[in-house]
């Protein structure tokens, strides 16, 4: 491995930063991210600045344990935040040059890797500039004093850079494993589900629990991560271990070049690794589960459309990753499960409806755009609009029914839901599961989307936000009567003047009527639109 050229590193980093700026400036999405992010950062910065101004002095006068706790919390928080976002950004896009063939045949890969790392550090620095200025300014202007402010400035910049290097390196490791691991290549669907749903959901649910946060912080204060607090304590003159302070300072500043060199080494491995592609043994007589379920029961064209959708999702889960979003609405319920160790009575139906919404969206929310470059074939393949749309609806409804049933029944039993209420909840969720894909195809052809977006480094056509919005609105209106009846049945919100069975039945009838109407309308409209669609 050779030492990267400073001139080329600067040139590549500058070009990358310029491209980032133009992407933010030149697209509506970019402008919204810029404005939204800018607003969020400004609000947080104000809070940080005010906190540092009013409470910085009090903290400086606190006992050493409190100072250690606060300093460690700041370090762990900043390191975790920057590391997580950098890891995500590296896996998604920043961990590989966009025009890799061109750049890697123009400059040594070390220069390219150093340029990308420097660009990432530049992005992080720009994003954190205002909060850090606010923190330092608040400390300096308040009672904490200039010396503490100076330590905070140097420390926060160093920790942010360390988080960047750490996140970039871990991102490259992730890319390398994803490319080279036969296990990952063969189990992309399971790995994709874990990465996009279970891990984030678990993380959000766990970190919201104060006892978990406190435990993490306690562990951190007993680890070398708390040693930088000794620097602060020495500056304040309220104690502190000078050996720990020296080791912490040397550790942070020494880890930066070592980490950067490791990143260059990893980039060489990740970029030049041959990706593992599992072959698929073909047996002309073999019948898959879906063959056995569908062959002879639905027209061949419908069956192959559904099977094609499942195959694509299984091998490239990133194409349906957007659909897991409804499950994130269950975070509140999960927190209750973790904190109170009980399953809330509303969780079975909520989980069932999340499953219905997710499976409804997964294959059906962009019937035209989701075909990507294959759309000309689909339109000229002599398959009717109804057969094609039925295939998409089937692709979502069939697995949806299984998952929804398992979730509602499993959680219902765990929650101790009475049988009649549980049966009503299951029926509501199944009605939603069957109607959702048909509603989705309708909204998907009203708002088709053909432009691709980069998701985890791959160009994917995800459904439009308008289609998402309309779909959730229609599905929400459809399930509202039955869900409200279910809520009144499981929670004593107010006394109802008639029997629970009547309440649930009435809600269910209304939901079946609305969902049925929405599904039929959506299906027929989509079938007609696909049959007559022109690429004008």
């Amino acid at each position: 491995m050779r030492r990267p050229s400073g001139r080329r590193t600067r040139l590549i980093a500058r070009t990358e930063l310029r491209r980032t700026w133009r992407k933010l400036k030149g697209t509506t999405r970019g402008a919204l991210i810029f404005l939204g992010g800018g607003l969020g950062i400004s609000i947080y910065s104000l809070a940080i600045g005010a906190g540092a101004f009013f409470f910085g002095g009090a903290l400086a006068d606190s006992d050493p344990h409190t100072v250690r706790l606060a300093t460690t919390a700041g370090i762990v928080g900043l390191l975790g935040l920057v590391g997580f976002f950098t890891l995500q950004h590296t896996v998604k896009s920043a961990g590989e040059p966009d025009a890799a063939d061109g750049l890697l045949t123009t400059v040594p890969y070390e220069d390219a890797a150093a340029g990308l790392l420097a660009a990432e550090a530049g992005r992080v620095s720009l994003a954190l500039a205002i909060p850090i200025v606010a923190l330092v300014g608040g400390l300096a202007a308040g009672d904490a004093g200039v010396l503490v402010a100076l330590v905070a400035l140097v420390g926060s910049v160093a920790v942010a850079l360390l988080g960047t290097v750490l996140g970039f390196g871990l991102g490259l490791v992730t890319k390398l494993v994803a490319n080279r691991s036969a296990f990952v290549a063969s189990h992309r669907a399971s790995v994709g589900a874990a990465v996009s749903l279970i891990l984030p959901l678990g993380w959000v649910a766990m970190t919201a629990v104060p006892t978990v946060q406190l435990r993490v912080l306690q562990l951190a204060t007993q680890s070398p991560l708390s040693w930088p607090a000794d620097v602060v304590l020495l500056v304040l003159g309220t104690g502190g271990n000078s050996v720990a302070a020296v080791v912490a300072t040397a550790g942070i500043f020494g880890a930066l070049p070592v980490g950067a060199v490791a990143c260059l080494w990893l980039a060489g491995r990740a970029w030049y690794a041959d990706p593992v592609q599992p072959d698929h043994e073909f047996d002309a007589d073999e019948r898959t589960l879906s063959d056995r379920l569908l062959a002879g029961r639905v027209p061949t064209a419908t069956r192959v459309v559904a099977q094609k959708s499942w195959l694509r999702a299984k091998r490239a889960p990133v194409t349906v990753q957007f659909a897991v979003m409804p499950f994130f609405f269950l975070v509140y319920h999960l927190q209750i499960v973790i904190l109170e160790r009980v399953v809330p009575p509303t969780l079975p139906l909520s989980a069932g409806l999340a499953s219905a919404a997710a499976f409804g969206a997964a294959f059906s929310l962009n019937p035209l755009g989701g075909e990507e470059g294959v759309l000309p074939l689909t339109l000229t393949a002599n398959v009717s609009g109804r057969a094609f749309v039925t295939g998409l609806v089937l692709a979502g409804a069939l697995p949806g029914v299984v998952v929804t049933t398992l979730l509602v029944v499993g959680l219902g039993v765990a929650a101790g839901t009475p049988p009649i209420t549980l049966a009503a909840g299951l029926t509501i969720a199944l009605v939603a599961t069957l109607a959702a894909p048909a509603i989705a195809v309708g909204t998907g052809v009203v708002f088709p989307k053909f432009e691709s977006s980069s998701v985890q480094g791959r160009e994917v056509v995800v459904p439009s936000g308008w289609a998402f919005g309309l779909y959730f609105l229609v599905l929400g209106v459809a399930v509202a009567p039955a869900s409200l009846a279910y809520l009144l049945a499981v929670r004593d919100i107010f006394a109802i003047p008639f029997d629970t069975l009547w309440l649930l039945s009435g809600g269910l009838v209304a939901t079946v009527a609305i969902a049925g109407a929405g599904a039929v309308a959506g299906f027929l409209y989509a079938a007609n639109r696909v049959a007559t669609y022109r690429l004008d």
């Binding site: 592609q277 072959d279 698929h280 043994e281 073909f282 061949t300 064209a301 069956r303 192959v304 459309v305 099977q307 094609k308 195959l311 694509r312 091998r315 490239a316 194409t319 470059g373 294959v374 759309l375 000309p376 074939l377 689909t378 339109l379 000229t380 393949a381 002599n382 398959v383 009717s384 049959a531 007559t532 022109r534 690429l535 004008d536």
Partner: protein, 246 residues
Amino acid sequence: MCPPAPAIVTEGLTKRYSGVSAIADLDLTVPRGSVFGFLGPNGAGKTSTIRILTTLTNPTSGTARVAGESVADRAAVVEHIGFLPEEPPLYDELTGREQLEYVAGLRGHEYWGRVESLLDRFDLDEDADRRVETYSKGMKQKLGLVQALLHDPDVLFLDEPTSGLDPRAARTVRDTISEVAAADTTVFLSTHILPVVEELADTVGVLYDGDLVAEGSPDELTDSVESGSTLEDVFLDVTSEHPGER
């Protein structure tokens, strides 16, 4: 006895995009079982014409019939056509064989029997169980051609079919075009590779700025410029600002 109806007929076919004319009043007749070489510089309107004839786009005005069916009736037209666009329409996530099984399923499973022989003919049988995303450009092109031929169409639309192919694969494609044309399939061939058109086409049409500026057999066209000229000379002549002064 009446002569067979032409495979493709257009009358006054016009396509405008936001007021800009892509095709202007195009009259075209392609006899059944012939190979029609469709030439023209970039932006001449070739792709727009093919998209109208394959029912992917509506004309602004005029009519077109393919295999006797109006292009306004997609369901009727698509039964008769096979189409290989410039970018082969393939799912990256499927294997070559799964892609063909999918298309065979869409069109009716009786075509499944042709898959193996076509894979073998195009030297794709060894790679048929690899994902399409691992294929080279030439392999994707060949797979795209196989799926366009799978149902033995009456009219085959090919947009740059030999682009990116190695000499052996390009020869296979040219031989296939000759064979399907001999078996009464009409081939509408759009390409920039003029020797391919010279070798295969019975009739050549040259589109320039949306107008059909030349039409005839390759011999008729080359003779119309000067003796000893090639199709390239004809192309350059009719697509220059001042024809005949090149």
